[in-house]
Symmetry: C2
Subunit: 632 residues, 2 copies
């Protein structure tokens, strides 16, 4: 296809690539294909995302010279392929003669401009690439750990960074190159985009590797549109799709590439979560184009799509085909099973109900009905005999002291017996069944449970992935409703699962048929925990109690009910607050250290985005004064 454009207009192409992390050769093969196609299509410039060659979230992969050499060799192939076309791509750049501040060979998060077989070279830095200037060091991002940058480079040259930032000279004129955070400049001392505009750029390219976060595109549209308008330049935003992880925390990349015209309009250049190639005509003389930018908030549908993308992508990457889900008849395991049923073939999905001494006929029936509706394979494996065997072996076990003397016996308490049941389900049955089935088993925990460690390590807190681990309980219900209504268009998750009391069913105190269940109060605890975990300046009991005392708590944490309706007085309020805070900061941390990875969808997911030490629960002196006052 030869595209015809008006005089002076420029055809540019954004390639919203699925980048395979840590697979430079594979990514490059696909990029070379896209370059060849772009050239055949008569496109003047083709742009790929940030770190499209190596991938972005690679942990400490950057300290392996063999990997850096491979990435460099891939970059050379892309350079060679740039005959008659401008190829803009993200890659790691290596300066083998210099050291980074970690004492290792120096690496840059770099944007390369190749044309006619040569890399464009910066007139100031003399480097054949644009170096990322603003390195994010929050959430999961560790850029300062891995990469040298324009600011440190300026320091080394005894100058200021604005002098080191300049557009690249190409046959299309000066083009300003930005890498992701470079355009999120509101919290930095200067704006690389504005410097590039000031230095005569014809348009700006922002190559990104920016993960999906609920409502982030809303903010991005606002910030990037403003930047385009402020500079008066078209801004091309090209982002990755796919899945990248940093161990404990798995991120989905939604692409959503977009071209902003500098006049308050934009052209969508890629659908969310899918690979796409979009060619956009930049009109001559900087005329307006596209539709007015109208930011929209993300819906539950986007959340569901992100989760599906994450599970599918990570399974494919790790070569996982078969999955076992333990289904209890509750909502978390039901949504987990429903999610997997959309990804794996029915014969590759095994749903297991594991009734124990306290499982009700209600939940067992709901589990069976769910399995029927989802159409996977199904079996029941009771745990009672094994639990009794463990009880028999451990309770009253005689211990031997020095010289063979008797030294007391062990005694199992009620809570110990609850955990034994949970571990029997997870660490014994599900793990063995998954191995026999030739697959993995899932962790069905939600974010509220993970926050306070409401779950048993090696029991329900185990499995290959906690797909719902970044969803509050109310989001679990909302996504489940959405899947029934829009995903399946029939109630595959039985209504009874929405209405049954959430319960671990590990003791008589948790009998669902008597309306008894878990001690968590939804959605109040969702909102309370969210204030502890997700607020940008995280709240502690000191803040919570201050808001409570001022009668502002509901508004501050976004709880639509009345706190006074839950707790008759300040004493019970404080007891509840401390109970869960102590768990969040105490055993909760220990459990998260050994918990499965989560799919991150919020702006603060557990794992690498919520770094924590085993500090134990801390309550400030000021909190203690406040408590004395409030509960007096």
């Amino acid at each position: 296809m030869q595209t015809h454009t008006q005089e002076g207009a420029v055809n540019v192409r954004l390639v919203q690539l699925e980048v395979l992390p840590g697979r430079p050769e594979a990514n490059t093969r696909r990029m070379l294909d896209a370059v060849a196609q772009a050239r055949a299509d008569g496109v003047a410039l083709v742009a790929f995302p940030e770190l499209a060659v190596p991938g972005y979230l690679l942990g400490d992969m950057w300290d392996r010279p063999a990997f850096l050499r491979a990435c460099e060799a891939c970059g050379e192939r892309l350079r060679e392929a740039s005959q008659g076309i401008i190829v803009v791509f993200g890659n790691v750049a290596v300066d083998w003669n210099k050291r980074g501040e970690d004492g290792r060979v120096r690496r840059y998060n770099a944007l390369f401009f190749a044309e006619n077989g040569r890399f464009c070279v910066s007139a100031v830095t003399r480097l054949p690439f644009v170096s990322k200037t603003l390195l994010p060091n929050y959430r999961c991002f560790d850029d300062a750990r891995h990469f040298f940058d324009t600011r440190r480079l300026a320091l080394e040259h005894g100058t200021t960074p604005d002098r080191m930032i300049e557009p690249m000279q190409t046959s299309l004129g000066l083009i300003g190159g930005l890498l992701c955070e470079d355009a999120w400049d509101t919290d930095y001392a200067f704006s690389p985009a504005k410097i590039l505009a000031h230095k005569g750029s014809r348009f700006l390219i922002n190559a990104s590797c920016s993960p999906f976060t609920g409502d982030k595109n809303h903010k991005r549209n606002r910030v990037f549109n403003q930047l385009a308008c402020d500079t008066g330049l078209p801004l091309l935003y090209v982002n990755t799709v796919g899945v990248q992880d940093i161990g404990k925390t798995v991120y989905m990349f939604d692409g959503a590439s977009c071209v902003y015209d500098g006049h308050g309009h934009a052209v969508q250049a890629g659908p969310p979560f899918e690979e796409a190639v979009a060619t956009v005509v930049l009109p001559a003389n900087g005329a307006a184009f596209g539709e007015p930018v109208a930011p929209r908030r993300d819906s539950t549908a986007a959340l569901a799509q992100a989760l599906e993308c994450g599970v599918r992508g990570l399974m494919r990457r790790l070569g996982i085909r078969r999955v076992v889900v333990g289904i209890s008849g509750g909502i978390d395991s039901a949504l987990t099973a429903a999610l997997y049923s959309r990804i794996v073939a029915p014969e590759d999905l095994l749903l297991l109900n594991l009734p124990g001494p306290f499982s009700s006929q209600t939940t067992r029936g709901l589990a069976r009905r769910l399995a029927e509706a989802l159409g996977g394979r199904y079996a029941e494996v009771p745990i009672t005999a094994a639990v009794e065997l463990t009880r028999g072996q451990i309770d009253h076990l005689p211990l031997i002291g020095p010289g063979g003397t008797p030294a007391g016996t062990l005694t199992l308490g009620p809570l110990d017996l609850e955990n034994i049941q949970a571990r029997d389900r997870g660490g014994r049955v599900l793990a063995a069944a998954a191995a026999a089935f030739g697959g993995v088993f899932t962790c069905n925990a939600n974010k509220a449970e993970i926050t306070v460690g409401y779950g048993t390590l090696y029991g329900d807190i185990c499995g290959w992935l906690a797909a719902l681990g970044d969803l509050w309980k109310e989001q679990v219900y909302a996504v489940a409703r959405h899947l029934n209504a829009e995903g399946f268009k029939r109630p595959v998750i039985p209504e009874g699962i929405f209405t049954v009391t959430p319960s671990a069913e590990l003791s008589a105190a948790q009998a669902v048929d008597e309306g008894k269940g878990d001690p968590l109060i939804y959605p109040y605890h969702d909102k309370l925990f969210r204030a502890w975990v997700e607020r940008w300046e995280r709240a502690t009991p000191e803040d919570i109690l201050e808001w409570y005392a001022a009668g502002e708590l509901e508004g501050r944490i976004g709880y639509e009910g009345k706190v006074a309706a839950l707790f008759p007085d300040a004493r019970t309020f404080v007891a509840d607050l401390e109970r869960w805070w102590n768990l969040y900061q105490g055993l909760g941390v220990a459990k998260r250290i050994q918990a499965p990875p989560v799919l991150a969808v919020s702006r603060r997911a557990f794992g690498f985005d919520h770094r924590e030490a085993q500090l134990g629960p801390w309550l400030s002196d000021r909190y203690q004064d406040l408590r004395a006052l409030v509960t007096a």
Copy 2:
């Protein structure tokens, strides 16, 4: 005690404090006591470590305003206590009116100088503290994530950092303040210490929070002595003791505070791993003092001391008093048990032998003899019945398909049965026994096993802490020998445990009495894995194969034997290389994500010091070419 000194000489005191991470009020109480004592002793200046008020390794604790307020209030109390004495201490400094680059309130890793109830104020920055200039972003350190710094400050002021760095004016004259990394300046564009010297400092103080790492003090003595000599100034190094962690990775701080005289001599100002208060007289006119600096390498004794300090400190912090160790009759569990026996009372240590279908009389006897020698409580809990129960429930389990139709059965393979045994020991028996005993249970894995995931998740890879998780197998043997010889001064670990073939005893193929055991070849695999994990520029199979082809492998990885004696030809060498590499980068990563924390003693420990994503094993194109050549 009033100390008398020659005219012009200055008495300075270094307080090698055990800093409790995340407990500002508790730390400050102890610091106030030390200030009062120093004043009573007639000392002119008292110096505390970096971040002595809040602690250093706190994860993301810094994003809680309530915590920052508490630290600030503590700083005020120290300021008020500085009547008639100079108090130098590390604390977080907060600028509530400015933002950091993460959009949160701005925080500095700061060194405060208080005197006569006032903070010394920098003449240039106008800030009442010295800000850390060089922020480490390697190993476990995330300084750029948490703190603003002098370099970014300079940028904001439109100037260069050297202008922002200056000594503090005190009644003793100008004193140059440095925070830890500021003096480890060899990989940075400039040296804060030299700038401070150039600007007329009388002496330098380096307040640190620097964790123990085998042989690091050797390097520190070299670097710091050189810096003191280069500047011609005394350099006071005051470091923390105690234990701080970042979830997966637990660090021990050894103090080892020291004063360098600027003439190649030094005075030790604190023994390793213990709190200490040392008063040093800085002579008038910069005269020499102390002993010649003679760096020594760390011994196995230091390693053993670090491990003991780590286990003891973390147990105390988390309130753990009782411990269960599963002892197999092998060296890893024997050393673990021996280590705990030095920390907990005999009645608080429970040693369990868990014989299974393949356990030999040899190892069972060794376990019993170990328990006798250590004097803890002891019991045997066989796992065979439970393993049979699981096999009976899962093997041949009939599955149900849609509409209740039969849909095949499950089948357990031989490896599945090995893992069932391991999980039965860990997730079933040890977890239940620890709960009944009122304590925790240990993970006994060593670093070689953790590298390649040679162990079963929820089985032998579980427990509260892997105390030996940063020790290669040969280090495990060495520390065990050391404890027998020096720690206990008798063979509490029976000689048979040193000589028995290392074996998991999970199948007939691992029968120790026939000399069969684990597939790992020690110490060759120790050395190979170390090259993958600990080299500063990490090696990959590409590097290994290159060295092998060049006949250099033994020298490169420090293996004292001959590789040719282990592998008859290149094919078997390559098969072994890829087998373990694939495990290290494949299942090994998945297991480490859910593995217990480790005590870090090397310069690269698993967890936060070895960040990784589930990328799967990558072999470069160049490796594949090389392999074709070598195995042709």
